[in-house]
């Protein structure tokens, strides 16, 4: 667990006069569950776009899965998976059709796709439902399925954007079990969220405020450092210093 899968050095991103990311420095280890927190507009999305090769940094060096994102964004994209709360799967396609589509995008051969998809659906216990439309599934199932699809091509990193907001507590637990499992298999999990209870599950979290990283440690250490009962209090202390 000592080689970093993501390494960010002095990352700066400016839009005109506005600095969205102000000298970010961090690294994420292989298999780590890394929480990336911040209020709306703190610069989370900008940073994640740079990490996933969608946008170029103004300054600094970002290496993801062994590739520099500024020079080899395509290589980076091949090696990451992505899942967001807003869009996960096509509602008007069946489970199987969705999986086949995303497998094809990432260049999996038909044989490999069939084998993995079958295994995955069996593990979730919904193989017999593979021809159902995704739109008919509950939110919880959609999210679990979306996560499975995001790691179908065995990426070294999977980016999750607010993966469990609005999901019932039991499904959320099942979801985190899947994340723990992926992590145990060596997939690095990068979670951005502004829901602090999701932060509690992570190995380490960073908290961004106004484009800067204000804290980076394990949830336990952060709670201790800020004498807080939970991550929500830690976050409020950092994001709302005037009111404290």
């Amino acid at each position: 667990m000592n080689e970093p899968v993501i390494s960010v050095k002095n990352l700066v991103k400016r839009f005109g006069n506005f600095t969205a990311n102000d000298h970010l420095n961090f690294h994420v280890d292989k298999g780590e569950i890394f929480g990336f927190l911040g209020a709306n507009g703190a610069g989370k999305t900008t940073a994640m776009r740079i990490l996933s090769g969608l946008s170029k940094s103004t300054e600094g060096e970002v290496v993801v899965a062994g590739y520099n994102v500024n020079t080899h964004p395509e290589k980076v994209k091949q090696n990451i998976g992505y899942m967001s709360q807003k869009f996960s799967l096509f509602e008007d396609l069946t489970i199987w059709e969705n999986m086949r589509f995303f497998a094809a995008i990432y260049g999996l051969s038909t044989a490999v796709f069939k084998e993995r998809a079958q295994m995955l659906l069996n593990k979730l216990g919904i193989f017999h439902e593979k021809d159902r439309l995704v739109g008919e599934l509950s939110l919880g199932w959609k999210q679990k399925l979306a996560f499975s699809v995001a790691i179908l091509h065995r990426p070294s990193i999977v980016f999750l954007d607010e993966p469990t907001s609005g999901v019932d507590p039991i499904t959320r637990r099942q979801f985190w079990e899947m994340i723990y499992q992926a992590s145990a298999e060596g997939i690095t999990v990068f979670v951005t969220t502004h829901y602090m209870d999701e932060a509690e599950y992570c190995n380490r979290v960073t908290i961004m405020v106004d484009g800067r990283i204000e804290a980076l440690d394990t949830p336990a250490a952060l709670k201790k450092q800020f004498a807080a009962r939970n991550m929500n209090e830690v976050f409020l202390t950092l994001a709302r210093p005037n009111n404290q």
Partner: protein, 301 residues
């Protein structure tokens, strides 16, 4: 006071709201907690007269949202789940519009919205579509309050809003409560339960519990151990197959472990895990929270 009795609503074969009976007291901040698809929105819309129940009876201070829907609509301030303001109108134009539509003026009820509106007043000429999530929320709340409603119905006001704005929003609700307005708020975030006077836990159209947050938690009745180890996933699968395990699930930093009987203690769990080669084992006593209650109640229902 609001009384909901044996109320049901079906969509096709799906029971969106299934025989729900709850009461909301005068001047109370009442939380309706449940995940997406639990039936919260349907229940709220039946209360505010926008949907007809299939069965049951709802009374708001003696008014029936089915028969007396005109009067009911007069006394309700409503914030739907989706952002419902006009994005192309400015803050001031939005507020003015809703004031006029409800037959009042901003000046008349300014005292009610003052604390909230003052925070966004400096931007009153900005179109609502260009506001941050927190500011939109404040404007929506101002608009819902402008006609001095007796009851405020808020459908998932904190969904999609960051932690800071959520905190501020709840502070605003606390302040409104002191002005005698009854508030019903729905939320999928269990941690917001502690901010309510009373809560109802809802899932699959049913209410699993309805009480003060403290009483709901007190009713949990089992001991939870928080368990941590280096390999969490293996620990989870190992504990799941243990014969003394009633339930185990991830919950933040720790796994929450509930034993089948009270003889199982920290020592025996540690022993079991050590025997399987786990390292850095850390076991603590955990006070159950609303989420634990929710999981337990869903399991037993």
């Amino acid at each position: 006071m609001i009384t909901i009795q044996n109320t049901s609503k079906k969509y096709g074969t799906v029971k969106a709201v299934d025989d729900v009976s709850i009461q909301v007291h005068e001047g109370e901040l009442f939380g309706l907690l449940g995940p997406d698809g639990a039936g919260k929105t349907t229940l709220l819309r039946m209360v505010n007269s926008l949907i007809l129940p299939d069965a049951g009876n709802i009374q708001l201070w003696g008014l029936d949202p089915v028969a007396d829907y005109r009067q009911v609509r007069q006394i309700i301030g409503y914030m739907p789940g989706k952002f419902s303001l006009y994005t192309d109108l400015t803050i001031e134009e939005n507020l003015n519009f809703f004031a006029t539509v409800f037959g009042t003026t901003i000046a008349e009820n300014y005292h009610l919205i003052k604390d909230i509106y003052q925070q966004i007043e400096p931007f009153k000429h900005r179109p609502a579509g260009k506001l941050s999530g927190g500011m939109k929320q404040k404007l929506a709340l101002s608009c819902a309050l402008i006609h001095k409603p007796k009851l405020l119905v808020l459908d998932e006001p904190t969904t999609g809003v960051d932690a800071v704005s959520r905190q501020e929003f709840w502070e605003m609700l606390q302040a409104l409560k002191t002005k005698g307005i009854t508030i019903i708020v729905s939320t999928p975030y269990m941690d917001e339960a502690r901010l309510c006077d009373r809560v109802a836990l809802m899932q699959d159209g049913q209410i699993h519990a309805c009480d003060t947050p403290a009483n709901v938690v007190a009713g949990f009745g089992k001991t939870i151990l928080g368990v941590k180890m280096t390999n969490v996933y293996k620990g989870l699968t190992d504990l799941r197959v243990w014969k003394h395990t009633d339930n185990v699930y991830p919950c933040g930093e720790y796994l929450h472990f509930i034993a089948t009987d009270s003889h199982v203690d920290v020592a025996s769990v540690t022993q079991y895990l050590v025997s399987l080669g786990h390292q850095n084992i850390d076991i603590v006593n955990v006070n159950p929270d609303i989420e634990d209650c929710f999981i337990e109640l869903t399991r037993t229902h």
